[in-house]
Subunit: 194 residues, 2 copies
C-alpha cells in the first residue's frame, strides 16, 4: 500500500515532465518533439502517449506543475519573516535561480509562442502572470505600509513593471549566456523602490 511514497524515485510521468520542462525552457514549445523526450528517457514515443494523450495535454500539465511550484516558493517567502524589502530580493532570486539553469521562465517562453499554443495552455499562462502580479502587488503594498519600500506609483503598476522587467531580463540575458547581465538589470529594475 504505497499510495504516497515519500521518497520513491520519480515515476515515469514525473520524469517525462522533468525532461519536457527543460526542453520547453531551453528550446520553446515548438522547438522539441516527443522523440526528444523518448530518446532521453530510453522509452518509445508511443509510450509517452500513455502518460500524456498529446503534446497539448503535456504542455498544460507542465504549466500547472510549474505554477504550483512557483506558488509554493511564494508561500515560502511569505512565511520567511523577512521584511518586504528582503522578500522582494528573494522574489528576484527565484528568477535568477531559473536562469542559472540556463533556462528561460517557462511561462515567459510560452508567452513568446502564445499565438501558436492550444487554448488551455494560453489560459494557464495568463493565470501564471496574474498570480505573480497579485502576489507582488500585495507585497509592495505591505512594503509601502511598513516603510521598507518606497512606492511612487500604484503597487499594481509597479508589480506589472517588475514581472515584465524580470521576464525581459531573462530573455535578453540568455543569448549572452551571462547571469550577471540578469542580476544587473534586475537590481536596477527594483532600485527605484528601495
Amino acid at each position: 500500500m504505497a499510495a504516497t511514497r515519500p521518497k520513491a524515485e520519480a515515476g515515469t510521468a514525473t520524469r517525462i515532465l522533468d525532461v519536457a520542462e527543460r526542453l520547453v525552457q531551453t528550446r520553446g514549445f515548438n522547438g522539441f518533439s516527443y522523440a526528444d523526450i523518448a530518446a532521453e528517457l530510453g522509452i518509445t514515443k508511443a509510450g509517452l502517449h500513455y502518460h500524456f494523450a498529446g503534446k497539448a495535454e503535456l504542455g498544460e500539465a507542465l504549466i500547472v506543475r510549474y505554477s504550483e511550484r512557483f506558488a509554493e516558493a511564494l508561500a515560502a517567502i511569505d512565511a520567511s519573516g523577512l521584511d518586504a524589502r528582503a522578500k522582494l530580493d528573494a522574489y528576484v532570486d527565484l528568477y535568477a535561480q531559473v536562469l542559472s539553469g540556463k533556462r528561460m521562465c517557462l511561462c515567459g517562453i510560452l508567452a513568446a509562442e502564445y499565438q501558436t499554443l492550444p487554448r488551455p495552455m494560453c489560459d494557464a499562462v495568463i493565470r501564471f502572470f496574474d498570480d505573480n502580479e497579485a502576489w507582488l502587488t500585495a507585497l509592495l503594498e505591505r512594503g509601502g505600509a511598513d516603510g521598507t519600500l518606497s512606492l511612487s506609483e500604484p503597487a499594481a503598476d509597479s508589480a506589472q513593471m517588475i514581472v515584465s522587467g524580470l521576464e525581459g531580463a531573462m530573455l535578453v540575458a540568455r543569448p549572452y549566456s551571462d547571469p550577471e547581465r540578469f542580476k544587473s538589470s534586475a537590481q536596477h529594475l527594483i532600485a527605484s523602490l528601495t
Copy 2:
C-alpha cells in the same frame, strides 16, 4: 534602365520578407513554414527557394533588414533636434509601434528561440541588442550631461535595463492583447530617469 525604381511595387523577395517577418514576429521562427509564406503569396514552396536558399538564409535576411530599419529609426531620432528626454520617449515609442501591429520585437522573439537557431542568426540577434544598448547608452550620457535625464547608475547599466525591460513589457503585453499594458510598464521603467 530601372536600376533603382523609387516607387516600384515590392519585388517578390521583398514580399517574401514582409510575410515572413510578420509570421516570425507573431508565431516565432519555429512556428511557421515555407508553406505558410507560399500560400499567402500565391506561389509554391519551390519558388521560395529561388529567392532564399533555405530557412536559415531567410531568417538571417530578416534580422539584417529589421536591424537596418531600426538603425534608420534611431538615426531619425538623433536628427530630430529633440532633447535627450524626448528622444528617450521616442525610443520607447518605436517599441510601442511594433506592438501595435500585434507583433513582438523580431529579435526579442528570436532570443526566446535562441538555442534552436542557426549560428548566423544567433550572431545577428546579439548584434541587434549590442547596437541598441550602445545607442541608448550614448543617449543617456548626453541626457545626463545636459540635465534632461538624471542618471543614478552608469549609463550602460541603465541602457541594458531599459532594452531588456522594453522587450519584457512587449513579451508579457502580447498575451493580454493590451497595448496599454506595455505603455504603463514602459513609462514606469523610465520614470526613475526623468
